[in-house]
């Protein structure tokens, strides 16, 4: 073992952990706080990881800040649900609204590599029409870019992450072969497939970011089933494994255990750097550009907390939209009991998927959903039994004993934006003395109609494979919409300073890859991302062809 990753920063003294070798180190370029670096990127997860890699490979000086530790998966990761709570953002947040979100856990991440360290690896593409959802489908907002542009980026991201997937994808325009073959399907995945076939709809092995054959120092997936608690073999292509080492080799610095509390701006409103706390001491890092890649909660929290005379409503917020229109997935599920032994703890949890209702518009609501095979581990499972069914006592024990015979289907649905669903600053403070986020959420009528539709469809599928004792999980935690489960994968989120969940609605106002050095607001409204003024351009410039 190599010590406690929380005790002191590991990326220090001119070196950072080499996550692919026990005890190994990589040489790392370091900057003084007084160096005015080209870029500070706040967050090293799905957005920040590739961004610092691209910036470093293009020759910019860049520091990636992360509030979490720098794990060595081969040494630090246990096969244990409770122990792996260390991967999550466990600091306090307040949740309220008609349908409060369950935060923490897998709806969060605090580590170098962010929540990709424990994500379920599901790596989908958007349906092309979603880029023009307002004009093509009549809801939401159009993106300022074309799906054909994204198709190329998806392919690059799929190669960079060695995605394993099927040779023929049943929905949407033709896509290239996935770099790695699809994984073997487990019992839970097989039951999804049988249900779909009985219903006459398509299914497919799920494209996953865990390798099905060796890749570099990553061994093929061994199907241990703890994917969402951190991969201890490095088969999973998280940012920690796939991009961060590349970024460091290209000259990026990563600062672990470094919580950014405020972005500083000068008299003209330009960002000059970030105030951050590391090893108990507040410091200031100078930078020419600051990019916030902290996901749906921490990004608006930081932008709002950085309010000052030039930016009274927070940074990048002339539109007043920062923190608003928070969107999550609807993750309701149906579970049942099979006569077969399913043993759904084996393998990645969602080895099969149907996107049928993402592509079929004959519905009485807007948006779409898919459903996926499930494989909850015991603590997750008792959480479902107690929250969805209100069980405790002997009744709970009796149900838990059926664990190896359980099967389930869980929707991943698109919820529509609502300004009342939002992130604000609460008066409570965290261990850094920073105001915590208050997260307010309630479902809309469209969301409820979609959930009802999906529950009926999933229940039919389970009935058709002979599952008994069906019950519905209607109160699911409702995950922040994320790249792995909704096709917002890879480059679609690079460098975007807004919460990802606002992207489809904020993009027209703030532009793509905007750094926080200015706040032109609506002036950028109709400009495609690659025509943005220099700073935006520079944020994205490293990308084409570099991935």
């Amino acid at each position: 073992m190599s010590g406690d990753p929380f005790a002191a920063p590991r990326a220090a003294g001119g070196r950072a952990p080499d996550v692919m070798r026990p005890g190994g180190w990589l040489e790392m370029r370091e900057h003084a706080d007084t160096d005015e670096v080209d870029f500070v990127v706040v967050g090293t997860g799905a957005g920040g990881g590739p961004l610092i890699t691209g910036l470093a490979e293009a020759g910019f000086s860049v520091i990636g800040f992360d509030a979490g530790p720098y794990f060595r998966p081969l040494e630090d990761f246990a096969s244990d649900e409770t122990e792996q709570n260390k991967l999550y953002w466990n600091d306090n947040r307040i949740v309220d609204g008609a349908n409060p979100l369950t935060m923490g856990g897998k709806n969060s991440g605090k580590a170098v590599g962010g929540s990709t360290v424990h994500f379920a690896m599901v790596s989908l593409r958007f349906r092309p029409e979603w880029f023009k959802s307002r004009s093509a489908l009549g809801y939401g907002a159009d993106w300022p870019l074309d799906w054909r542009d994204m198709w190329g980026w998806y392919a690059k991201a799929e190669r960079a992450l060695s995605i394993s997937g099927p040779t023929r994808y049943p929905w949407g325009p033709k896509r290239p072969d996935y770099p790695y073959r699809a994984h073997e399907i487990n019992g839970a995945g097989d039951l999804l497939a049988r249900g779909c076939e009985a219903m006459g709809i398509d299914w497919t092995p799920t494209p996953l970011a865990t390798v099905s054959a060796p890749h570099g120092k990553s061994p093929p997936c061994v199907y241990r089933g703890f994917c969402r608690f951190g991969c201890s073999t490095n088969a999973k292509q998280s940012q920690l494994v796939a991009f961060i080492p590349r970024a460091i080799k290209a000259g990026a610095e990563v600062r672990d255990l470094a919580m950014v509390g405020r972005i500083e701006t000068d008299r003209t409103g330009r960002a000059t750097g970030v105030h951050y706390i590391r090893e108990g001491r507040w410091r200031f890092q100078r930078a020419k550009n600051v990019v916030v890649a902290g996901y749906a909660i921490e990004t608006p929290r930081l932008l709002l907390a950085s309010a000052n005379a030039q930016h009274p409503g927070g940074l990048a917020n002339s539109s007043g939209l920062v923190g608003k229109n928070l969107m999550v997935q609807s993750n309701q599920a149906v579970f049942g009991v099979m006569e077969d032994e399913v043993r759904w703890y084996k393998g990645p949890p969602s080895l099969t998927i149907t996107e049928h209702w993402n592509y079929d518009d004959k519905k009485n609501f807007h948006g779409g959903y898919c459903w996926m095979a499930q494989g909850p581990l015991p603590i997750e499972w008792v959480g479902i039994q107690t929250s969805a069914r209100g069980l405790w006592g002997q009744a709970l024990r009796d149900e838990m004993e059926k664990y190896n015979h359980q099967v389930g289907l869980k929707m991943v649905g698109e919820m529509l934006p609502n300004e009342a669903n939002r992130v604000t600053l609460d008066d409570e403070t965290d261990q850094y003395g920073l105001k915590v986020a208050r997260i307010t959420y309630g479902w809309g009528e469209n969301d409820k109609a979609m959930i009802a539709h999906a529950l009926d469809q999933m229940q039919t599928s389970l009935e058709l494979v002979g599952a008994k004792e069906l019950f519905r999980q209607t109160d699911d935690t409702n995950h922040l919409r994320r790249q792995d489960q909704r096709g917002q994968f890879g480059l679609s989120q690079l460098g975007h300073p807004q919460p990802l969940d606002l992207r489809r609605f904020d993009l027209p106002h703030h532009g793509w890859g905007e750094s926080l050095t200015d706040d032109h607001g609506r002036r950028h409204a109709d400009r495609p991302p690659d025509r943005q003024p220099s700073r935006q351009g520079r944020a994205l410039a490293p990308w084409p062809g570099e991935l």
Partner: protein
């Protein structure tokens, strides 16, 4: 009732390729939980013990998983969940207030402290909390339903299913790094997975489980 996975011991795999060093350390530490209260008073601890026995009753033929100890540890070490319902106070305060209020309810309804009530009466108090039917000064505005659903039940049940004892009962494979699994299909079992007893074949399953490594 005979166990569904007789003789299955997930800890028999401790020194096999299914458990890496990080896992062994984590589980050892969990099993060495301090058995004395650090957060709760002795009085609160006794009430908590009575509640744990109803939320997660345990068979009498083996040592109990020390559930009050795990709840106490979570609060003493302030292991947070990453969020808090706006209607609930911080976890330690919620627990203290909740225990006092459940005891108050026990006095009010059945005329005695929770710990001394018959199990079915204890269940009745807990059912009322779950339904949100308990109110009064002791709750100080904390909804009994939210406390029951989001604090009391999760803290107790999550602790239970974090233990090898619970994994044995439900036939969970347990830790699996780096060995993982090979036989993925329905009704297939790797030799290092639990064997389920078929009716009247408990001895056979017990024998097979004794070979699980």
């Amino acid at each position: 009732m005979s166990p569904r996975y007789p003789g299955y011991e997930v800890e028999a795999k401790r020194d096999t390729p299914s458990w890496n060093e990080a896992t062994r350390l984590a589980v050892d530490k969990r099993l060495a939980v301090p058995r004395e209260p650090r957060f709760f008073t002795t009085d609160e601890w006794i009430t908590l013990e009575a509640i744990c026995d109803r939320i997660m009753p345990q068979p009498g033929d083996r040592p109990k998983v020390p559930l009050p100890a795990y709840v106490d540890q979570k609060l003493a070490d302030n292991v947070q969940d990453g969020y808090r319902y706006a209607v609930l106070p911080p976890q330690g305060e919620a627990w203290r207030r909740g225990l006092r209020a459940l005891d108050d309810a026990a006095h009010g309804v059945f005329g005695g402290p929770f710990r001394t009530l018959l199990p079915e009466r204890q269940d009745e108090i807990l059912r009322r909390a779950q339904a949100g039917a308990l109110e009064g000064e002791a709750w100080a505005g904390m909804p009994s339903k939210a406390f029951f659903e989001h604090r009391l039940v999760p803290d107790i049940t999550h602790a239970y299913y974090a233990t090898p004892t619970a994994w044995n009962e439900i036939g969970f494979g347990g830790p699996a790094s780096p060995r993982g699994y090979v036989r993925m299909a329905l009704n297939r079992r790797d030799p290092w997975e639990a064997v389920e007893a078929k009716p009247d074949h408990e001895a056979k399953a017990r024998q097979a489980n004794s070979r699980v490594r």
